[in-house]
Symmetry: C2
Subunit: 226 residues, 2 copies
């Protein structure tokens, strides 16, 4: 009864999940088009099909959202993606900027036994190399509640980097250069109102300037006031 989905269908579900966020907001056709590098008309076609399959609920001109069944599948794809990334970094010494493209392929491999074995081999990791939570076998996701964006932190606070956006290789390479990684402790010294950039300091290092765009894509957890 359970038909298997195409890579394309799986990607749609995954991206709808990402775009709808933790609040399960509706996702617009254009937003999806951009994320999937496709034209809006193609999105419409696919949403119709996924709608018929009861994987998304979709009404013309009103955007879409995942049904429970669709979300379940999306989470499973994300589980695979993040486990593979963890495998590549932890077992094969890939850099965190090298794993995304390969994981996008590996996430479509169909074998429950395989992915659960990888999970076990890695000792059931809770977070992937970018700090994103790895859904467990039953689809439960352990979001880090205290996590906020670096760009939202108050001046003079001290935070720990817990996640970074994974989809830009350029960002990851840049963070590597400036020595920011998961676990790095940052002190926020100043916020420049002109361009919303921030002056931060790595424990024991020099102060440096971080643009708004970069700060937006770094997730941190509060450590303490200075």
């Amino acid at each position: 009864m359970e038909k298997k989905l195409s890579h394309s269908e799986e990607n749609y579900l995954k991206e709808i999940f990402h775009l709808s966020g933790e609040l399960h907001e509706k996702v617009s056709t254009n937003a999806l088009a951009e994320r999937l590098n496709a034209k809006a008309s193609s999105i419409t076609d696919m949403l119709k099909k996924l709608g018929e399959k009861k994987l998304v609920s979709y009404q013309k001109y009103k955007g879409c959202s995942l049904t429970q069944k669709g979300e379940q599948i999306a989470i499973y794809i994300i589980r695979k993606h993040r486990l593979w990334e963890t495998f590549l970094v932890n077992k094969l010494n890939f850099g965190w900027d090298e794993v995304h493209d390969v994981a996008e392929q590996l996430e479509h491999i169909r074998s429950v036994k395989l992915i659960n074995s990888i999970d076990e081999l890695l000792n059931f990791p809770k977070y992937d190399p970018h700090g994103d939570p790895i859904p467990d076998k039953d689809g439960n996701i352990n979001y880090m509640e205290s996590k906020i964006s670096l760009s939202e932190t108050a001046v003079k606070s001290k935070v720990e980097v817990v996640s970074v956006d994974e989809d830009s290789m350029a960002l990851l390479k840049y963070l590597d250069e400036i020595k920011i990684s998961i676990g790095t402790i940052l002190t926020i010294h100043n916020r420049i109102s002109f361009d919303e950039s921030m002056e931060v300091q790595i424990a024991g290092g020099n102060k440096m300037n971080i643009s708004k765009k970069v700060a937006d894509s770094i997730g941190v957890r509060f450590k303490s006031k200075i």
Copy 2:
């Protein structure tokens, strides 16, 4: 310039390689159709396309064979297939009858770094779990010269099992049951001319009867006369 091939195209190249054997014989349309579970007309279509891409040489009604470029790609796919099978068995404790289907998916993952890392992780294995040689990074294949089929062995000889055909799960399960695996030493006691079956004995075990079909799919190496 190097366009990437579809999974389908890769599968065609791989099967042409297998069917043409070590002597690079021409492969017929029907033979391919059977291996690929497709109709002959579909094969013709694809052969035309692969011909245009200079991956196979193809003349109407005359069968096909791989060009150097096509063979190179085929060998690379086979390298990936066999390395993944070895990974599944050696690192994730899959049974040798469980790996084929997953490996058929994994062989299409595009990442040179990934497959070379897996190779290294496995310590550059020479043979996969079914005893087939794993092509190295440069495409060299180390065929075991002294290998023959069990069905060709002389009565009263003693042989070591070095390979088994991997594509039938039923065969692999059966061999598991009768305790034949790579490395098993067999003594050939008799050959029944009526059905061409053989009486063989595992070192320290009982004599048992092996059908022609099964013997055909076991590769052995001569050990010594009794």
